[in-house]
């Protein structure tokens, strides 16, 4: 399928190399995500990493409850669907009985930082050698746009119609900073996918996280991806990605919060 009805036609395509193509580790199924949703981008990055690292035959993912509950319909690896908040417990169960496999969990902000907080803290505390992917878009998308633990002060959601008030609803929680403080975490980083530049960096970080697991490095590798929710934020994808640059990243700055000690 390609654009031939309109737009430019290339005269010397046969003299060109393909420098970017859709990875085979994504299902052909079009995603059910909203236009512009960061989930789709991160799914793609994880699958590209799985393909490039050659770990398709031993990768098992755990899908959360939330917009990405059907992650297994898009990511073409063995996956288990976990109860809300429990993805890292499920991942622990898999990794403990099959320690040679590569296991990753994929969670939204409600899953990881609300109902699953105990599992999040204790999985990291035990230093489970898994990759945790945290999609932080400051809202509960699947259920209609309610406040998340990471919703910023002042942001309007369906359960904070007047904007989040820190005295009534608490602060936006800095769970990734908590993860970095724990001895069980090995690599903790915060990335974004709201521009080509951040996408490139994010992919590098995800690849690093998986490589650490392949190398059997003790401890949990944790990648937070500051993401958008155009539908929940009631913005266009371009506006939503701009909000990340102009507002969200001030509170949740990008970069590595914890890197392994040198020589490790």
């Amino acid at each position: 399928m390609e654009t031939t009805r309109e737009g430019i036609v290339c005269s010397n395509l046969d003299q060109m190399d393909v420098v970017f193509d859709r990875t085979e580790v994504l299902h052909d199924t079009p995603t059910s995500y909203c236009p512009g949703c960061s989930h789709s981008v991160v799914h793609r990055l994880i699958m590209e990493v799985v393909e490039e690292l050659g770990i398709l035959e031993k990768t098992i993912g755990v899908a959360p409850v939330g917009c990405s509950v059907f992650a297994y319909h898009f990511m073409n690896v063995d996956m288990q669907q976990a109860a809300h908040g429990r993805a890292t417990a499920v991942a622990t169960g898999i990794k403990r009985v099959l320690p040679d496999k590569i296991v990753f969990s994929y969670q939204g902000d409600g899953d990881l930082a609300a109902i699953g907080t105990a599992e999040t803290i204790h999985t990291i505390n035990r230093g489970e050698n898994i990759v945790m992917i945290f999609i932080n878009n400051g809202i509960y998308g699947m259920t209609g746009g309610q406040m998340a633990p990471t919703t910023l002060e002042g942001d309007v959601t369906s359960t904070t119609p007047l904007g989040r008030d820190i005295y009534r609803q608490g602060h936006a929680i800095k769970i990734t900073e908590m993860a970095a403080l724990m001895d069980g975490s090995y690599y903790v980083t915060r990335q974004a996918v709201n521009s080509a530049k951040t996408v490139r960096k994010c992919k590098k970080a995800i690849k690093q996280a998986f490589q650490f697991q392949i190398d059997g490095k003790g401890g949990t590798s944790y990648v937070e991806v500051v993401s958008n929710c155009p539908s929940g934020w009631k913005m266009t994808p371009i506006e939503a990605n701009k909000k990340i640059d102009e507002q969200v990243l001030d509170y949740y700055p990008l970069g590595d919060l914890k890197t392994p000690p040198k020589g490790d």
């Binding site: 035959e57 063995d78 996956m79 288990q80 669907q81 429990r86 622990t92 169960g93 803290i121």
Partner: protein, 360 residues
């Protein structure tokens, strides 16, 4: 093998599980079953399994879910309040058809309750304690020997039918010490090949396996439910187990499981000494319930006395099963109290009188 050991119920169960090939134990401490967790902590990893003391029962059951999805023999154990916490995970596992062994060493409730034994979780166990239409295979031991024996059976049934199987024990059985002999059991011969559905990585590039209990399309969800119900029917037809003690000439039939069956056995002795023809039907599988055998016995006995350590739970299934006019009486102690043999004999006597009056 062939050696008689003196062991505590909880520990006998744990030892049996290790011999039955359990390779993953995920649990949380709670009285009166913490010894099971501790036995696993001490012994499982040196004998080839993975042990995790989870942060809660909620986490534990989800670890069991994940590990079970790899086709590994796994289990957890808890007591009543902890089993309540696990219900969501159990419902998910029942729907996703994940085999595992669960153990509930029941204590007095409701609420935080007491640590003394009880049978107050019968409904929760056999009617499906979590949401949705599902059943678990429920096995009820009444001795330390059965705490061990039913583990082998439990794992085999769980694997055969892809169903979470529950051992419904109680605080006394968990704590008491009796002699136990572990049978010969070749794990390899009993393991089932689950490779058609397990999530272990797309080996040799095979197509993706995924495990889920989410089926948004109602037509599909109904299909899944019909499949589950068919499975439960098959289990009902093939896996019912019970013990019948002197039932063939009984006038009064005691129906009791677990610890209450032990008191009832003593009561039977005392009653028979006094010339009363008493028998005991002891369900070993609570699901599937021995309805057929009960129906059969209801034709020959004159009255049924159900003895439980609760407010009257299994008695409802007894009444449902027999569908006849013979009196069904109930004797129960709650909150951790154990029915005593002499109390049961009194009830047998009064039921006998009642039955005689009805006849005459």
């Amino acid at each position: 093998m062939g050696k008689k050991l003196l062991m505590k119920g909880n520990e006998a169960l744990a030892e049996a599980a290790i011999r039955a090939g359990v390779k993953g134990y995920f649990g949380y401490p709670i009285t009166p079953q913490s010894e099971l967790l501790e036995y696993m902590a001490t012994n499982l990893e040196s004998r080839g399994g993975a042990f995790v003391q989870a942060e809660s029962e909620v986490a534990a059951i989800n670890m069991v879910y994940g590990a079970s999805g790899t086709g590994t023999r796994v289990m957890t154990s808890t007591s009543s309040p902890g089993f309540s916490l696990m219900q969501e995970g159990v419902s998910y596992m029942a729907c996703a058809e994940l085999p595992c062994l669960l153990v509930n060493v029941v204590r007095g409730g409701p609420g935080l309750g007491t640590i003394q034994p009880s049978q107050g979780d019968y409904f929760q166990a056999v009617k499906g304690g979590g949401h949705g239409d599902y059943k678990l295979i429920v096995l009820a031991p009444n001795s330390v020997q059965e705490m061990a024996d039913l583990v082998y059976l439990g794992f085999d049934l769980a694997d055969k039918y892809r169903i979470p199987t529950l051992i419904l024990s109680d605080g006394a059985l968990g704590q008491m010490m009796e002699s136990v002999e572990f049978p010969e059991y070749n794990v390899e011969e009993h393991l089932v090949d689950h490779s058609s559905w397990t999530t272990v990585g797309r080996e040799n590039g095979r197509e993706q396996h995924y495990i889920t209990s989410l089926h948004l399309l109602s037509e599909k969800m109904e299909e899944i439910n019909i499949h589950l119900q068919d499975k439960y029917k098959k289990i009902q037809e093939n896996e019912t187990r019970f013990e019948a003690i002197q039932t063939e000439d009984a006038d009064i039939l005691i129906v009791a499981f677990g610890l209450s069956s032990r008191s009832s056995q003593k009561a039977l002795e005392l009653a028979r000494e006094q010339g009363l023809k008493v028998g005991i039907l002891r369900p070993i599988t609570l699901f599937p319930f021995p309805s057929e055998e009960l129906k059969r016995l209801a034709k020959t006995v004159k009255g049924i006395l159900v003895v439980e350590m609760n407010a009257g739970q299994m008695v409802e299934d007894v009444r449902l099963s027999i569908g006849s006019n013979i009196p069904v009486d109930f004797y129960g102690r709650m909150g951790g109290m154990i029915p005593q043999p002499d109390e049961i004999v009194e009830k047998i006597k009064s039921l006998s009188k009642q039955v005689k009056n009805l006849a005459g």
